[in-house]
């Protein structure tokens, strides 16, 4: 299966076949993490930089473990202890890391397009681990992987995404991916966080969760950032919870075998009831687990084998 991209900058530039290639490759990596010795030599000698300008638990550790399980060397860059605090630019930071012969740079940055920007002057493969509110491709891939595990096929599923769609890179990458794969996506949230124009991306939208959730196969809850309230994007957490929180009562309107997803971090009791988080319907920790296999697949497809002429 060919994967003709030098970088993984987003879901949007990928074809359906590219996505299937990543997901199928990930299947073959799941088993490695269950071994007693959780390591294969596939990427031995490769140097990968985890360049995180924003805080992260899941994505950063997941990439690190994915790299280590493929025997790559990985360096963790920490913004607080870097020369960025002295005013070094993104470009100079990246050029210096490249001078240490990095093969891949995994970047998380608050600015949309930061990975695209550095890819223009980098030799290394660039992997977008979240650029502002733009994209978070590996999250969407691991979400798709998890849905496929539970539902076999993505096509025709009704997937409801609830919360702060406007500011969510997870929502965008998922919308792009699920659309390409033929799922039906319904977004739900307060109007200021779900502009009507989102329907241009081939989604349906609804301001009423009770209605949207009917017949859903998958319910994907997004974290609501508490500071949004100060900007009047919604009046209070109390009212947000009343309208958009996933409660057991609301969840009963979904399909009997519906699953609950959340990219984390969770505000327990805000966007989702704590007992649903911990329930058998929740696949939240499976998402995290699958993240490693999916990221191993991405690293393998970009870095593995011999270097070939690639375009992106």
């Amino acid at each position: 299966m060919p994967f003709d991209h030098k970088h993984l900058l987003g879901i949007e530039p990928l074809s359906k076949l590219d996505i299937l290639t990543i997901l199928d490759t990930a299947e073959s990596f799941v088993e490695i993490s269950t071994r007693e010795v959780k390591k294969v030599p596939t990427l031995r000698g490769k140097t990968i930089v985890n360049l995180f300008f924003e805080p992260s638990t899941r994505t950063r550790c997941s990439f690190e473990l994915a790299a280590k399980r493929l025997s790559a060397d990985i360096v963790n860059f920490n913004k607080q202890f870097s020369s960025v605090v002295k005013g070094e630019t993104l470009k100079d930071t990246v050029l210096n890391l490249e001078a240490m012969q990095s093969d891949a740079i995994i970047i998380r940055h608050a600015c949309p397009g930061a990975p695209h920007y550095i890819s223009a002057f980098c030799r290394s493969h660039i992997i977008n681990a979240g650029d502002g509110a733009h994209e978070h491709p590996t999250q969407a891939l691991l979400d798709a992987f998890t849905i496929r595990q539970k539902k076999k096929n993505l096509e025709g599923l009704k997937i409801v995404i609830v919360g702060d769609i406007l500011h969510s890179r997870v929502a965008r990458s998922n919308i792009f991916l699920l659309n390409k794969m033929g799922a039906e996506v319904v977004c739900v949230g307060p109007p200021a966080l779900l502009p009507e124009e989102f329907k241009e991306f081939g989604i349906a939208f609804d301001y009423t969760l009770d209605r949207a959730i009917r017949g859903a196969d998958v319910i994907m809850m997004l974290r609501i950032q508490l500071e949004r309230q100060q900007k009047n994007l919604f009046p209070s957490i109390r009212e947000y919870r009343d309208l958009f929180s996933l409660t057991p009562k609301r969840f009963r309107r979904a399909k009997r075998n519906a699953i609950i997803m959340h990219p984390g971090p969770i505000n327990r009791g805000v966007e989702i009831s704590a007992n649903l988080v911990d329930s058998a319907k929740s696949v939240i920790l499976q998402q995290v687990e699958n993240g490693i296999a999916v990221r191993m697949a991405v690293l393998y497809l970009l870095l593995g084998g011999k270097e070939r002429e690639t375009t992106d």
């Binding site: 600015c111 949309p112 397009g113």
Partner: protein
Amino acid sequence: MRLLIKNGRVIDPASNVDETLDILIDRGKIVKINPKIEVNGSKIIDASRLVVAPGFIDMHVHLREPGQEDKETIKTGSLAAAKGGFTSIACMPNTAPVNDSRGITEFIISEAKRNAVVNILPIAAVTRGLCGEEITDMTDLRNAGAIAFSDDGHPIENSLVMRRALEYSRLLDALIIDHCEDRKLSAGGIMHEGITSLKLGIKAIPASSEEILVARDIVLAKETKAKVHIAHLSVKGAVDLLKFAKQQDIKITAEVTPHHLFLTDASLESFDTNLKVNPPLRSEQDVEALIDAIKEGWIDAFATDHAPHTPDEKDVELDKAPFGINGLETAVPLLLDKLVNKNILPLDKFVAMISTNPARILGLENKGKISVGTDADLTILKLQKDVIVDTNQFFSKSRNSPFNGWKLKGAPVMTIVGGKIVHS
């Protein structure tokens, strides 16, 4: 020394002239215009197959001096202007220090006298330090040489301050140029709010942020009877408001930039920082509305909003890059190619919007027209000249143009300021 321009197609919207004429220039003034002039001892310019127009005037330029000479200076900005076909440019006061006092206005004028090859017309601040609170000593600034007043880039949010400034401006019959942006609505925005900003997850500036201030300024212009000029009109809603105001004979004028006419927000998919500008590149519908308004004669002037920034400042992630597009050397070829040569705008209307009207708006009595006794500021154009925009060839100190590499037809070939050839 006398200069004789022979056989040019002379276009002068002010006198409704479009015919082949010779023009004789002496001591910086136009002294004779005739179908055939024969004189001895003058330098002759053969303008056959060329268009001779009244010198182009760009009423919205940032020259960065004093204070930001790494981006541009009065000298380099004037060289860029001359190359771009402009004979006069009005420079905005957001320098460091701000042009809000006689000393700075005089500095700009004396620097211009020493170093500039085109006429430099300083625009002074409306409020001290561009802070939007206390109005400047407008009479003193006018007497020092300020051509108009603006807090460009720093919209005057307080409507009372704006009203007071407009009231006071009547004392001088001065022009106030406003950058219309409700900063509460646009806060943190990088690009136009629309499908592309949603797709890219980029913080956005809604059309309403411009429309609301344009509407306010129209209301205040009506109330105070002062002269208001809307800088860089960019959205359809603001065009509609402008039409409404003009239909009621409110004294309001407006300009539009080439980049708002020939680029849209969709181009930001490249994340190119050279596309980051304020007001932002808007939607296709906005562009259509602007072009229609130009065709129908609602918009008075073309202006570049020439905003030079160094390559280093633009070589960063989009959030960090400063707003602004370098415009002096690309404006005329763009407008000739995209509007005149595509028969969207007749040549005389184009000249009116880039010379006659800006001169009228700024109150420049001896400019913007070709008639005996006026300043010998002329722009000579070759409509069929092929050019490729190459930012490395810019005379401007900066390179921040999204038009690099564009192939265009139509360009200025000679610029004459006060009877002197400053570029050819």
